[in-house]
């Protein structure tokens, strides 16, 4: 179940779904994706197919080594699958692009640049320098770092650095944001704040969001739908909608606990995690 009908502003070619209003996000389709690193080994990902609607937030939940991060790299075009394909609005992804941008576990800001220069990189790389003066302050405000433009990236805390990385990703106005466990190195409090803020920002902009995580709580807090991955080879074992209002997603209520327990049980069964601790 989708939380609400979300529509695309542009009409993509091919087999993309029908367009509708209010979303800037792209439709993502993964078709029969299989990947093998070495011929002698088995596939890390086996025949994975799923779609993400424009503006939808989907979590890929799985244990370490299930290939979920590899899968996200292939969606981003940073690596290529052995077979199968990824379609953005019906067009095959063959290379990375600021239109479907990935955020990594480490913010990897350039330490010789200011916060604003880091946030401007995507615009600089795509010959859109003329947008920098207006767009960079806009995205820094969006991630609550309005006053930090001229600070050096190294002076910031881990959470602030990841916010700059988010601003850097958002500046070129992507249609899809791909998060590869971007909060796992942060303390619990900072992580919660960022989880809420990223969801809020993605909803506000109508972005399609895909989050790779091994944290059930993160999946419940952020996602409209959770794809649980099995390992060896990685494949989608379950597709679970999360029906929670934004207010309930902060945790500490029965509805959140119910969804959390339900997802935890499925995840435990699939991943064979003993017990149901979070």
């Amino acid at each position: 179940m989708k939380v609400e009908p979300i529509n695309r502003t542009d009409t993509g070619p091919g087999n993309a779904p029908a367009p509708s209003a209010r979303s800037n996000g792209a439709h993502v389709a993964v078709r029969g994706l299989t990947h093998t690193y070495r011929r002698s080994d088995g596939p890390v990902l086996s025949d994975i197919s799923f779609s993400v609607e424009p503006g939808e937030i989907v979590a890929l939940l799985g244990r370490s080594g299930c290939g979920k991060s590899t899968l996200l790299h292939m969606v981003s075009g940073l690596s290529m699958p052995s077979s199968g394909e990824v379609l953005m609005n019906g067009n095959s992804v063959r290379a990375p692009s600021p239109r479907w941008v990935m955020m990594f576990q480490a913010p990897s800001l350039y330490p010789w640049m200011s916060v604003a220069q880091n946030a401007a990189l995507g615009l600089r790389f795509t010959q859109r320098r003329y947008e920098i003066a207006t767009r960079v302050p806009e995205v820094l405000d969006l991630v609550d770092l309005g006053g930090f433009a001229d600070r050096n990236a190294q002076e910031l805390s881990g959470g602030q650095q990841q916010r700059v990385a988010l601003a850097r990703s958002l500046a070129p106005k992507p249609e899809v944001l791909l998060l590869d466990e971007p909060f796992s190195a942060l303390d619990a409090f900072t992580r919660r704040n960022l989880q809420q803020d990223v969801r809020k920002i993605a909803r506000g902009l109508g972005l399609t969001l895909m989050i790779v995580t091994h944290d059930v709580g993160e999946a419940v807090r952020m996602a409209d739908r959770v794809l649980v991955l099995d390992a060896n080879p990685g494949r989608i074992a379950s597709d679970i909608p999360i029906s929670l209002s934004d207010a309930d997603r902060n945790g500490g209520n029965d509805a959140f606990q119910r969804e959390h327990t339900r997802l935890m049980q499925t995840y435990s069964d699939i991943a064979q995690v003993p017990g149901t601790q979070a």
Partner: protein
């Protein structure tokens, strides 16, 4: 003076640390002058060596004052600075791109490692006869020798810098749509600017050392020539003054590069 004042401790006023540094630097210069003066006195009192007494501080420094006043310092330094500048510029023009290539491409690094280490260990002055034959002008030969001395520190420092680049920086750039030009000028070169400058600083040290013997070649200008000329004319005060000039210019060139390194260094020690 209380005992506590002798114990080095973090000063509550940061200005004091700098003042102390300046005092100690002056102390070091004074010590060098005293040793020089003692050496001069010993030479003057030695029956075998007294002919070289103009090496002492007083004759040398008064000759130095004359050279400065007449502008001769400029005349003898400029050709040397030109040769070192050209040699270093060529070394950077070749050393930085080759360093980036061998830092980036493993197979290139493996192929070139032994030949480069072999060539690096050959004294640049060993090439002197070849340089003299290969170049029409003395200037050309000297610049070549300086280039040979300077290229290795720059090349190896660049390659080492490249291998310390965080691969995630390149992934982020690729992810945001960077082309190879952006990779080089927005990511790689700023990331390794300090490594390059450190290589150039090392190269300058070697080049400045190689310069003087290289200028013993047929040229009739430059600091090395001035040394040779003073020796031939038994003008030991000029010889001493030239040695001082070589030291002072070398010191300030090195100091300038040190300041540049400080300026470009993006690592915040307090972060």
């Amino acid at each position: 003076m209380s005992a506590a004042a002798d114990i080095p401790q973090r000063s509550p006023m940061p200005g004091l640390g700098r003042a102390r540094g300046a005092v100690n630097a002056l102390l070091g210069i004074g010590l060098l002058l005293v040793l020089w003066w003692i050496g001069g006195e010993m030479i003057a009192r030695n029956d075998d060596l007294f002919a070289f007494a103009s090496f002492a501080p007083a004759p040398t420094l008064s000759r130095l004052a004359e050279l400065v006043a007449s502008g001769a310092v400029i005349d003898m330094s400029l050709p040397s600075l030109y040769r070192v500048g050209m040699g270093l510029a060529l070394a950077a023009a070749i050393g930085v791109p080759v360093g980036i290539a061998i830092g980036r491409i493993a197979i290139l690094r493996e192929i070139t490692n032994v030949p480069f280490q072999f060539l690096r260990m050959i004294s640049p002055l060993s090439w002197m006869p070849i340089a003299v034959m290969a170049y029409d002008t003395w200037d050309g030969a000297i610049i070549f020798l300086i280039f040979v001395a300077a290229v290795w520190p720059i090349l190896f420092a660049t390659a080492a810098g490249l291998r310390r680049i965080d691969p995630a920086w390149l992934k982020v750039a690729r992810n945001l749509g960077a082309n190879p030009f952006h990779m080089l000028f927005v990511v790689i070169l700023p990331a390794i600017s300090v490594d390059i400058l450190t290589g150039i600083r090392l190269a300058l040290g070697v080049a400045w050392v190689v310069l003087v013997p290289a200028e013993y070649l047929g040229v009739t200008s430059g600091l090395g020539y001035a040394i040779n000329d003073a020796r031939d004319t038994l003008d030991y005060a000029s010889l001493g003054a030239t040695v001082v000039i070589i030291g002072v210019i070398g010191f300030f060139l090195d100091f300038t590069l040190m300041m540049a390194i400080k300026k470009f260094n993006w690592v915040r020690s307090d972060a």
